[in-house]
Symmetry: C2
Subunit: 759 residues, 2 copies
């Protein structure tokens, strides 16, 4: 665990340069605007350990997979998020020598991410050989107002220094993925061009043919007077422009670099040169300050709805805002072709693709903190991939339009290749349906069923109905060979969570088909014909719903994680010596698999999803049985436990779990922040506060709150969007007030009290 | 299935060149002498599809593993058998143009492997542009009399051709493994040298530092008159020597190339140059004919004991001799550091390392067809690896000197990295003990227990005792998370075979410790101190032996392959459409895992090993339950079923199973012979005949035979070595005679009749 960043309610501050943590800082200080973004790399040269990373949402490369032993059904490719053009670069020379903090000392170093405005600031002083001091200041943002645009300002001030300064803004597309299975270069040169009004570089991905172009135009002033640009260089994949100037004591040089990034998801490759030249001209005319104002206004709008304010604990305050900030700059909901990669724009690991995290963790966040269209676009993303999911299931031997959504994907195709996950961690299919259910429950937008929802649901119900088999031995439908959410058990039989959500999927689909038949017979006819739906499918599903096997221990009155769970030696985690943890580093894989220890919520994930199906005492019994055996070695584990603990009135456990999630990356708990941030689990932190501490639930179309004040907090407040209304929840000490800030009158339940709110 | 080779009792014959099957032929026509060997590549250039392969037993390279997702406990390296110096090469030019059958037509092509003499012959005619015909004849052998030596003769005869012929014998060490995970070159140049009396090339492996040197000396005669050698070339990793001659009609050119191959397992790298020069001189002096005689005499000795003669079925005759021939040229038992790789000297796949095949299949073959020292050396091989096996277990979390032998190894270290195999297919540990038991049962050499046997057995018993855990639920010791011999089920609980052999290992070890304590107290004291053996270990083992869980279906009265087997949908293979087979090509992996279909003997492997533990009716019940669900998609499967079927009097099944094993490679049943031959499963063919059709068993120190004449055979006969005697078994029609050919009088049981034999 690291603790080198200052605590501040709105800012992340690195005071004094910490080169040993540079890659961690690069992750933490990342910027993005939903369309592109990148790590908090330095603009100027830096020759020490660093992962230079700039990424473009939805632009990927199908890298050849790396497989030990091939299994039939494995995908050929793993879609990799692409490290693209380095558009932030500004080389700076003092008397011909490039500034490089790996090679020269600096003082007064300060790097600040202002989360309120989405601006990255950096400043430091250096003492050139020629004498005096140069103070440098960098400011950078990726516009949230215009997702094609970014801007950088560099200010260099001389105190007693006299000598030559060169600033050289550049675009460099000659970049490699660190995460490449065979060290291949994924980009091929497409076009470079520049004249006095613009510079551009453009490249195309191999195989996928995405084209990304980056344009820049820069202006340099010394003491507010523009200077002429000097040399410009152009070479394959690279363009740059140099400004040379002699600085004297008291002089101030100010470079503004304007950037437009286009990609072929929005502008066809061949049209990018023209479009980019026009756009960079407009952007330059708008100027740095106006661009910045538009950008900060956009953030103001986001924060107005999405913020959680905490009184009494600045560490928690900083943590939760850090999570909200990164989620919103990763995904803004503007495009149904995009999704939330596990590292967002902050790194390359895990291929930058989509996991079930989106459905299980991110959708609730976006439902409450944004317009309902944002979450809807996340549903449509999966609808757009339905045919690929059907193909995927077919490849594995399923028939009749059954769909299996991939474990990891960029374009709908499966990218994962570890059989116990790829083929067996099929509970992800349930999360797809749960997300539709969750969305409708929250928004009331049942119409989505007719616009994609039912097609997805039916295709998934078909999968479940084929995936189970009838056991003559048990006289019940069983599901063999699965991996549940607890990936510390593989290839088990009758994982309770999977069986339960499979049964629920079929049941929910049955019910919604009935609704469609009754209420929208015409549209149902179209859908059922499109899917060649047969009435006997309903009979099949009913049979399976009625006799689905759910492993259970009658003595303890608990559902079993899987058939063989009770054959294990059961013991709580706290009986393990600390030296044995984390298990995934200290134990061999077989030992983990044979142990009772649980990576992340499994049975409890089901009890969290379907809390209204179980008595509180049932949930408590299961929590008390499973949580002590849970090692929470997935960043997605603590939040579910925090929420359940809060609901069960387990204050200490809720606090403990929340602390494990909220500052995971800021404090680098797992020593892996250098690879990028855990973007999707950030939604879990938000859920811990809103669903956990504030106890928010939607029960029968009504919002419920059941607040609990975390240890050390004095008060917290946040807004939520709910069915065309904005509500604000202010919890302070033992009090909880809920205000309607916009929209029609609404009744909410706080604790046991039902209140009707008006604006 | 291919059928392009002629049937002949002693020869493998390719009449007419089959370039489409060239890589298959290269595997089939492989030669070896236990120390080195290689594929049946052409001596002259061949530019079409070909896997040039020359291998040296025990010389390996630890290639970096290729892993999709790393698991704790995986090995870093996979030992690869090394493709080494190409010592067979003789380039031949006609009027300056190299002979290359990929580029020029030939006629009267004939390639013959004479298994009786271990000589590879090849001949063909070509029509040069200059007119006339050249007849070429190649003869090659790897001496079984002197394992450093090989020789090649090339005869070129002109009929009407007049022109220049150049023959250029060479040694080429610039070779790459086809089976290399990252395309690395594994050899580095060490030394080249030549003068008029020798040529040599020498290279060293990276990391492992093995040195291999190859020496040659050649003589060329035209019409029996020696000609002078012309140009010699030397360059890194390569040496060659040219002989140029004008040939006229009727002329005959004869090149003899003598080769000595040394490797650092026998001669230190630095001494090889000197030793090799001396040796190549001696070999040259001996001459081709005498070398050949020594070699064929050595084969005569082997065949004298190892042959199986079949009357009435030349296909079967050819098949069984092919198997015996390749087994003996792969492993001669001379060196306990060597073992039988799955491809021998015939290919690179599977890393050329040792699997449990040796213990389960090969040891019985060598016990009967060779001196008992051969099998003993195979046991000592594992004894030499005991410390590595203890390290391996420790790495996985086992304590107190527990040993887990690797799934695949070259030097004792685990090479395999697929968790469900590496960590879970632990039944291999049982085979190590079974092999000791089998060896002692066959040879009566109980003394081996004190010379390594007990140490291995105790270390393995320790492993089993820790690997089980007590299930409160079942009130028994269970074994969770294993893969049985049936690799079409992974990570199952309580695989009957594994639990059974684990229990047996502990029981057998207990009994043999008692023997040692009683009979050899002094030596036992030394062993027990060496292993820090504690008496309470015996108590632990007894407890586990008494209450080991063995899954069983009381209704059917059968042991269950694993806990969840009856939850599967049970159906016989013959209900699957042919288009679905083989499953490993047609079905996704998850579908295979969930199915009832069995790759190879699993419960039945146990019943085969421990036949005396079960009533015949019990074996029959299990055979009738499991075999119909078995797809035999391992080359090791049919033989066990053939033996059991023969013993159960199931003639048709025994025949069917035998046919699937005996000509697996000759007919390329599985379309993979091009990668190399299935050497270890060849022992299974032998077992099918001797243990199956002849019904050989050792029961209470007595040899039993219970012959059954396979369909289409008139008679078969073979010899076996048994306890310092040689017996010959001649089965003809319904008759079976057993003769004692050497050694002391012995009583054997044929059918139900006990006979005493004398020489």
């Amino acid at each position: 665990m690291k603790n080198y960043l200052s605590h501040h309610p709105w800012r992340i501050i690195e005071e004094g340069f910490h080169p040993a943590h540079q890659e961690v800082s690069e992750s933490i200080f990342s910027l993005g605007n939903g369309r592109f973004g990148g790590r908090g790399n330095f603009e100027e040269d830096y020759s020490d350990k660093s992962l230079s990373g700039n990424y473009f949402a939805g632009v990927y490369y199908p890298d050849l997979t790396r497989v030990g032993w091939w299994k039939n059904g494995y995908p050929e490719y793993f879609a990799k998020v692409l490290n693209g053009v380095k558009w932030i670069g500004v080389r700076i020379y003092i008397d011909g020598k490039a500034i490089d903090l790996a090679k020269m000392p600096c003082s007064n170093f300060m790097r600040t991410l202002d989360m309120e405005t989405g601006i990255l600031l950096r400043s430091f002083d250096i003492k050139p050989v020629a004498g005096g001091t140069l103070s440098l200041r960098f400011e950078r943002f990726c516009s949230m107002a215009d997702p094609d645009v970014a801007a950088i300002e560099v200010v260099i001030k001389s105190s007693g220094f006299e000598g030559d300064i060169t600033v050289e803004p550049y675009l460099d597309f000659d970049v490699h993925n660190r995460d490449a299975n065979y060290g291949d270069q994924f980009w091929i040169d497409f076009l470079e061009d520049q004249d006095e009004n613009f510079s551009m570089v453009s490249a195309k991905t191999k195989k996928t043919g995405f084209v990304v172009s980056s344009f820049m135009r820069s202006e340099t002033k010394v003491n507010s007077i523009a200077i002429e640009s000097g040399d410009s260089k152009i070479s394959p994949m690279k363009v740059s422009r140099q400004f040379d100037q002699k600085l004297n004591d008291g002089d101030e040089l100010r470079l503004q670099k304007f950037v437009v990034n286009l990609n072929s998801l929005y502008v066809p490759g061949k049209e990018q040169a023209e479009a980019g030249k026009r756009k960079i001209h407009d952007v330059f005319q708008t100027g740095f300050n106006d661009l910045k104002k538009d950008h900060t206004d956009a953030w103001k709008n986001i924060w107005n709805l999405a913020d959680i304010a905490i009184t009494g604990d600045v560490t928690a305050q900083q943590g939760i805002r850090f999570n909200i900030f990164h989620l919103w700059q990763t995904y803004t909901g503007a495009d149904a072709r995009l999704n939330i990669g596990p590292k967002g724009f902050t790194g390359e690991k895990y291929g930058g693709s989509t996991y079930w995290d989106t459905e299980a963790y991110c959708i609730p966040f976006y439902l409450s903190t944004g317009d309902s269209k944002v979450a809807r676009n996340l549903l449509i993303y999966r609808y757009l991939h339905l045919n690929k999911a059907i193909e995927n299931a077919k490849k594995l031997g399923f028939k009749n339009g059954a769909a299996l959504y991939p474990m990891v994907t960029m374009n709908g195709e499966e990218c994962h290749n570890e059989w116990e996950i790829t083929f067996e961690e099929i509970h992800r299919n349930g999360a797809m349906v749960y997300a539709i259910y969750d969305y409708i429950k929250y928004t009331g937008d049942i119409g989505y069923l007719l616009e994609g929802g039912l097609e997805v649901m039916i295709s998934i119900a078909r999968f479940w109905s084929q995936r189970v088999n009838y056991s003559e031995e048990k006289k019940a439908w069983v599901m063999l060979g699965v991996t549940g959410p607890n990936e510390y058990e593989n290839n088990v039989n009758n994982n309770w969570y999977t069986n339960y959500i499979a049964r629920w999927c079929m049941q929910y689909t049955l019910e919604q088909i009935a609704w469609a038949q009754n209420e929208h017979a015409g549209q149902w006819k179209i859908i059922s014909e499109k899917l060649s739906f047969q009435t006997n499918e309903l009979t099949d599903w009913k049979e399976r719903i009625e006799r689905m096997y759910l492993p259970r221990d009658e003595k303890r009155q608990i559902f079993l994680q899987q058939d063989g769970f009770l054959d294990k030696t059961l013991m709580p985690v706290d009986q393990l010596p600390d030296t044995e943890l984390p298990l995934n580093q200290k134990w061999s894989w077989d030992r983990i698999l044979r142990s009772c220890f649980i990576k992340q919520a499994d049975v409890l994930q089901g009890m969290y999803f379907f809390e209204d199906h179980f008595e509180e005492e049932t949930v408590r019994r299961h929590f008390d049985f499973y949580e002590p055996m849970t090692v929470h070695e997935s960043s997605l584990s603590p939040c579910v436990h925090a929420i359940l603990a809060a609901r069960l009135g387990k204050r200490a456990k809720a606090n403990e779990m929340y602390l494990r999630t909220s500052r995971l990356d800021l404090d680098d708990y797992n020593n892996d922040t250098e690879d990028g941030l855990h973007i999707t689990s950030m939604a879990g932190s938000w859920m811990s506060v809103v669903k956990g501490f504030a106890g928010m639930q939607v029960i029968s179309d009504e919002l419920h709150f059941n607040p609990m004040m975390p240890d050390g907090w004095k008060a917290f407040q946040f807004k939520i969007h709910f069915r065309d209304r904005v509500l604000e929840i202010i919890a302070s000490g033992e009090q909880c007030e809920v205000f309607l800030r916009s929209g029609k009158s609404i009744t909410v339940v706080v604790g046991k009290e039902r209140r009707t709110l008006n604006v």
